[in-house]
Amino acid sequence: MAEFLVAAAAFLLITVAAGLVRILQGPTAADRMMAAQLLGTGGIAVVLLLAAAAERPAAVDVALVLALLAAFAAVAFVKGATSSGSGDPELPEDDRG
């Protein structure tokens, strides 16, 4: 069983590795950020699979932290994409920049 879980983790990693290509190609910053987000979710799944395969429950905490902080980089990105650098893309006055 452990063998299967590790193989599944390796498969997932290969799958999300394709996301690296999207980060390189873009073309927009939003594409790059979303590809990084996919890698993040895939990484969480890989950690969970490895934790189960190696029977190291402490590794689930690593997945928990990754999931908790998964939105952080993207929040910083959308902040930086507003005209003031400190606005909100949902605010009409930030519709410039």
Binding site: F4, G19, R32, M34, Q37, T41, D61, A63, A67, V78
Partner: protein, 104 residues
């Protein structure tokens, strides 16, 4: 019993991996930012959910199972909000300067 649970794990994890594959194919093949966003957030969170589901029978106790579910919930929350915000940024960029790729 053990065998049935193992079979369940194999099936759910495989299905989860399939959704990740679908998400990646979408990310690479779909024509523009918004459709790619769509492919990603739908597919990879379903994928993670199925993998969590598959690993639940192997959790050591109710607390460990709860932690697995929390991982999925956090990831769902992050994906939903990030998709919304990034889509907003992408829409504006499209309206102004097509293909502009610099941040800030």
């Amino acid at each position: 019993m053990r065998l049935a649970l193992d079979l369940f794990t194999v099936l759910a994890v495989s299905a989860g991996a399939f959704f990740f594959l679908a998400g990646t194919v979408g990310l690479l093949r779909f024509p523009d930012v918004l459709t790619r966003l769509h492919a990603l957030t739908k597919a990879d969170n379903l994928g993670l959910g199925l993998i969590v589901l598959g690993l639940l029978p192997r959790a050591e106790g109710p607390l460990a199972a709860l932690k697995l579910l929390a991982v999925w919930l956090f990831a769902l929350l992050a994906a939903a909000t990030v998709a919304q915000l990034v889509a907003r940024v992408a829409l504006r960029r499209n309206g102004r300067s097509p293909g502009g790729s610099a941040a800030g």
